[in-house]
Subunit: 325 residues, 2 copies
């Protein structure tokens, strides 16, 4: 290796979302030194998207003393494949929905630093290991509760990518084998269909329909109910809304009990929008887990909320991939 021995103090993180692409330049303690963003959509070709990114990046790279201070770049992206640095058939990206886009290579060619890419849940897991609550842990699972349910699994200190780069799809284990809810993946009964933000809103609508129990949520058009509304109502003591979180947490706890049988992690770390509900969701998760898990695992796993700052968590996670290169 011909690598220079001068220490390069920063990495670039790119949180590539369906709407915005958010960049941060981050030091080894997880302090964001500079940040910028562009819209993800509106580009027909990936090259145009990368051009717009690099143009925005040049400004903040200059702010930290130039590209010589940058060790690497990490990208957290939907359908990201770590092994070959590609985004594969990402349905929500105008320039990436119908093929395999070698995004890491394109950035690497333009910036002249190593670039690695993975999906956002894996990025969150590495972020927790490097800057967050999983520092020092070798075996843990990050579960992201957002629009979908994602996961990043760390075993023996390494992220689990599997034989094809797509391991860690714990949102798609089957929780209801009969009459399960339809899931976006085309199957039925997936964890994601119940425990994502949209799953929680759907549970609320189902609970409202199947009883006459009074609820603040009855004042809304059912179709407009979001997980945030359920969370606010539960926070005000609304019984039906609390039952929705109880139901959601109970299923997540049952799922984690199965995950323990797989990898016996030291901790389950929850990340994403739904986690803002705090104890409303965490208490039933823990209770259900301890009740359902195989006796040998009882009382061993910690249940933690992400230690990454909410607003910049995704960028921090993406940047963390850069330190792993």
């Amino acid at each position: 290796m011909d690598e220079k021995t001068t220490i390069k103090p920063y990495v670039i993180g790119l949180d590539l979302g369906g709407t915005n692409s958010v960049f941060g330049i981050v030091d080894s303690r997880g302090d964001i030194k500079a940040t910028t963003a562009i819209k993800t959509q509106g580009f027909d070709k990936v090259e145009d998207y990368v051009n717009a990114c690099v143009e925005a990046l040049e400004v903040i790279i200059e702010q930290v003393g130039g590209i010589d201070n940058i060790k690497a770049m990490g990208i957290g992206a939907p359908n990201g494949n770590y092994y070959n640095g590609t985004i594969e058939f990402a349905p929500n990206l105008s320039w990436g929905h119908n093929g395999v886009v070698p995004l890491a290579q394109l950035f690497q060619d333009r910036l002249g630093v190593p670039v690695a890419l993975t999906n956002d849940a894996n990025a969150a897991a590495i972020g927790e290991m490097i800057y967050g609550v999983a520092r020092g842990m070798k075996n843990f699972i990050v579960i992201t509760l957002g629009t979908g349910v994602g996961s990043g699994i760390v075993i023996n200190g390494q992220l689990v990518y599997g034989c094809d780069g797509f391991a860690g799809e714990l949102g798609h284990v089957i929780m209801e084998r009969e009459n399960g809810r339809s899931c976006g993946c085309g199957r039925k009964g997936c964890l994601e269909a119940y425990c994502s933000a949209t799953g929680v809103a759907r549970s609320a609508r189902e609970f409202l329909l199947k009883s006459d129990q009074p609820s603040l949520l009855r004042e809304m058009n059912p179709d407009d109910i979001t997980s945030l509304d359920v969370s606010i109502a539960a926070g005000k003591g609304d019984e039906l809304a609390k039952e929705v979180f109880e139901f959601t947490g109970e299923m997540l706890g049952a799922a984690c009990a199965d995950f323990a049988a797989f990898s016996s992690p030291e901790a389950f770390i929850f990340f994403g929008g739904l986690v803002k509900a705090g104890d409303l969701i965490m208490d039933p998760i823990k209770r259900s887990y301890e009740e359902k898990v195989l006796p040998i695992f009882k009382g061993k796993a910690k249940f933690l909320i992400s230690g990454l700052d909410g607003a910049s968590a995704a960028v921090l996670g993406a940047s963390a991939i850069g330190w792993e290169i």
Copy 2:
């Protein structure tokens, strides 16, 4: 390290079962050079058991040229904990049922070679990696179908032990969340309650009760039916017996689909008594898996039968742990 540079060509394997303790001295290609066995039970103290083992071992160690030719010893044992070399609260061992027995250390002190210990399914997984069908694979799952359902999981070329040494209990993921069968672990609906040898016999009894379908199995006392009887009847074309295997394989395929969402293995490798049913069990496993797995994983995983010779598979697996030290 002061280790001698002379090559030590053999390892000792001990397959510690509830009835017999079988020893083999094995070379790096998996050829068993010498073998012996003693009864596992009949000892009040573990020291007496180890004394009897060493006495039997001395004879075969001499046959391969003495202890200087032995690199290490590997033990596959129920409730074996790799991290500290102990057997913990093994219900079926007269000298090990009520405490934590430091078995690896006891053998190490007597033999003067390094000794490692794990449970039998983990031993089988390392055996497949070193001598069997998983040579060259970095990500695979061994599922043992015997009296129970066990598993050994390899990710990134390493066995998964988890934070406490007890990971890989895939026989105890929950397959039926409502009205599931009672499992030996004290819970309900575990994979093991359906897909172990005893689970298959139980399915046969259930199938016989719930229909009037003619079957060769009706000639037996229902309580005497074993998985082997079901296998023999199915082999003769018995429709009810074939349905039992169909049911069993379908559930195993569904379970493997969930396991793929976890670690996306290159292969699932089946090991143990039930595997002797061959295509009767393997065909429905594959069919059910491909039907149920998340689209991104379809067609990727291989479904293999253990490559270790049946009679000596457990000893080979145990010995393989020795090469990993």
